[in-house]
């Protein structure tokens, strides 16, 4: 049995236990207060909730299905694996759940300009989509390394009318895109809403993003009770910033019999330090502060942020959402990793035996199910969050497979 807690977090100061808070320049604090106030009023406003629910149903395509992966389960010879199909949401990933919610909030605050960061490009596409839907101006910051490896998503954002702003600083990936977005926000704070794409950053972002993503778990819980007549033994999700994982976990948090497993990017292995497994490498992953929140951060002994690596751009980030750090402290959720090659193998397996091309991010979660299912009884149930589809990753996969 897992420990559960009735306490609703975060607290007033935005803390989940020892993690969270607000560590940003003073200029931004009033904007965070404004966002919190807008969110608090929207949350209890039936008109806002109705508008959100309507868009989820008629535009995003919710509820997304829960698919029983029969051939995959059979081949692994153990637990029954169910896939929560966020890949079937409009734009092809869970990111749209948060983007639509925050775009409505931006409108409510009278902000006509949206900025966003993106790694895999899925949040950028979702932000551009929500902006087009609601008639907002959209600028997306993206590292040049990620632009090269997720080229199709760059075109998609441009087609949707967003401006993609290349970031060539630092590691040229998600971390640097967030730096650039924060600098833009500090400069244009009066007119602009920063649409942060994961459950990280300063309070109230981790909570807002969690709440908008928690529909994943709410649906999945209802669907598995219908499909299997019982709760799952395991919920598995990949963890970049942590939004698809917290979105799945949240509805199961009080179900003590359900194990929650987050899968980080193991890169080319923990020993060499070439990965983004913040929780699994005590040499590099320690509590610190990055992008406005106190959480586990990959850093060197002097507190400089470490370079990360993952085959999947969406998991290639040195910090993790603060609520995950707290769930880990509580031992309510457990965190492990899948290597680049394990994720690639899971990617190919899912293509061949289920006819589903997963995002490389999601393939990390599949890889964990592949490890665990065989030793579990056939009556056991696993839900894997299939956070996105893999069309964006075809170039990367072809290159890697050709090696």
């Amino acid at each position: 049995m897992n420990k559960t807690s009735q306490q609703t977090l975060p607290d007033e100061r935005g803390y989940f236990g020892a993690y969270g808070g607000r560590f940003v320049p003073e200029t931004l604090i009033p904007a965070l207060d404004e966002l919190l106030a807008a969110y608090e009023s929207a949350r209890v406003d039936p008109a806002f909730q109705a508008q959100l629910a309507n868009l989820q149903a008629t535009y995003v395509g919710r509820p997304t299905p829960l698919t029983h992966a029969r051939r995959l389960s059979q081949q692994l010879g153990g637990a029954q694996i169910y896939l929560k199909r966020e890949d079937l949401a409009h734009t092809g990933a869970h990111k749209i759940n948060n983007a639509i919610g925050q775009a409505l909030l931006a409108q409510r605050m009278g902000k006509h300009r949206i900025i966003a960061e993106t790694g895999a490009g899925q949040h950028g596409v979702a932000a551009a989509t929500a902006a087009a839907l609601l008639g907002l101006e959209c600028h997306v910051y993206m590292g040049t390394v990620d632009m090269a490896r997720q080229q199709p998503n760059v075109y998609r954002m441009q087609l949707l009318g967003a401006e993609v702003l290349p970031v060539a600083a630092g590691s040229k990936t998600l971390k640097d895109a967030i730096n650039a977005a924060i600098r833009d926000w500090v400069t244009n704070v009066q007119s602009t809403h920063y649409m942060l794409g994961s459950a990280l950053g300063p309070h109230p972002y981790p909570r807002i993003v969690r709440d908008f993503q928690s529909i994943i778990g709410v649906e999945a819980r209802r669907q598995i009770l219908e499909a299997a007549g019982r709760l799952p033994d395991l919920c598995i999700a990949c963890v970049g910033g942590g939004s698809n994982a917290i979105g799945l976990f949240h509805a199961f948090q009080e179900d003590a019999a359900v194990d929650l497993i987050g899968v980080e990017a193991g890169g080319s292995g923990i020993a060499g330090g070439v990965h983004a497994a913040r929780f699994s490498d005590p040499e590099l992953g320690r509590p610190g502060v990055l992008h406005g929140t106190r959480t586990f951060v990959m850093q060197d002994a002097n507190g400089q942020i470490a370079d990360t690596h993952s085959i999947s751009a969406g998991l290639d980030y040195p910090a993790v959402g603060p609520e995950h750090a707290h769930l880990r402290d509580l031992e309510r959720a457990h965190y492990t990793y899948a290597s680049d090659s394990e994720a690639l193998a899971a990617f190919h397996l899912l293509c061949k035996v289920q006819g589903i091309i997963p995002a490389l991010e999601s393939a990390h979660a599949i890889a964990e199910a592949v490890k665990r299912a065989p030793s579990m009884p056939k009556t056991a149930v696993i839900i894997v969050n299939l956070s996105g589809r893999g069309d964006k990753d075809l170039d990367t996969v072809l290159q890697e497979t050709g090696k």
Partner: protein
């Protein structure tokens, strides 16, 4: 300033001297390790001789999210040169040995300081001869642990107010900041600007009326003699960073020429 204890007394003496001379204190920002460790110390010594009243000493960080391109590039160079928090404390110690008497406040993002340890950092920085700390990603709500450490060493904890800060936030900052309050002149990141904000006088007055007598220092964007003339009568001090670093590309001679021009009456 000989004989005055480092920390809050030295900073108070700096403002008193500037006030007596009817001018605002000039506090250049200079990062340790740019373009090299040795040259950064030479630049700071030159600035001390050119009449700087105090210093904001930059500690490099990999992800400086309140900084514009010039300071980003300079601090990336410093990191590539192996500069750490510890090395910056060495620099302060060496600058004291080489005769720099002015107050030195260390400016660092939070994470490198957390890695060092807040209490250990304040203790070691004070022992090295520094006078205070400036942390741009530490708002007043999160500053309690630092306040305690700074208080026990009579070390300044500078906090920020911005044009977006309301009356309640200004009052909260004024109640906790020591040494001075850092006024961010614009909503934005560091970097030279052609014109300063139109409502600068209004902003400074708004803070002044709630500051309870703590000195006000303006920074972000100040780069020309005209700017200095505009703010001299408003604030107790001003910080110049990006424009100075650009000038430092011309070595100590460049620094000299820039400061002479900046302080021209």
């Amino acid at each position: 300033m000989t004989g005055v204890e480092h920390g809050l007394p030295a900073i108070a003496a700096m403002f008193a001297a500037a006030r007596a001379a009817q001018r605002a204190a000039f506090l250049p920002y200079y990062p340790i390790g740019y373009p090299s460790y040795t040259e950064s110390l030479d630049a700071i010594i030159a600035l001390a001789e050119l009449g700087a009243d105090g210093f904001e000493i930059g500690v490099p960080f990999s992800d400086p999210l309140a900084d514009g391109p010039v300071i980003q590039a300079a601090t990336q160079t410093a990191l590539a040169n192996g500069i750490t928090v510890r090395r910056c404390l060495d620099a302060v110690r060496e600058l004291r040995l080489r005769g720099v008497m002015q107050p030195m406040l260390l400016m660092s993002y939070l994470n490198p300081l957390l890695a060092y340890g807040p209490a250990a950092f304040v203790r070691d920085a004070k022992a090295a001869g520094a006078d205070g700390v400036i942390i741009p990603d530490l708002p007043v709500e999160e500053a309690a642990e630092w306040a305690a450490a700074c208080r026990s060493h009579n070390f300044a904890q500078v906090l920020f107010v911005a044009p977006t800060s309301d009356a309640a936030r200004i009052a909260a900052v004024a109640a906790q900041a020591t040494g001075f309050i850092y006024l961010v002149s614009v909503t934005g990141v560091t970097g030279a600007r052609t014109g300063l904000s139109a409502d600068l006088a209004g902003f400074v007055a708004r803070v002044r009326s709630r500051a309870g007598g703590i000195p006000l220092v303006l920074g972000f964007g100040i780069s020309t003699a005209a700017h200095v003339r505009q703010i001299e009568q408003l604030t107790d001090g001003f910080i110049v960073g990006s424009a100075l670093i650009k000038a430092a590309q011309g070595g100590v001679a460049g620094v000299r020429a820039f400061v002479t021009e900046l302080r021209a009456p």
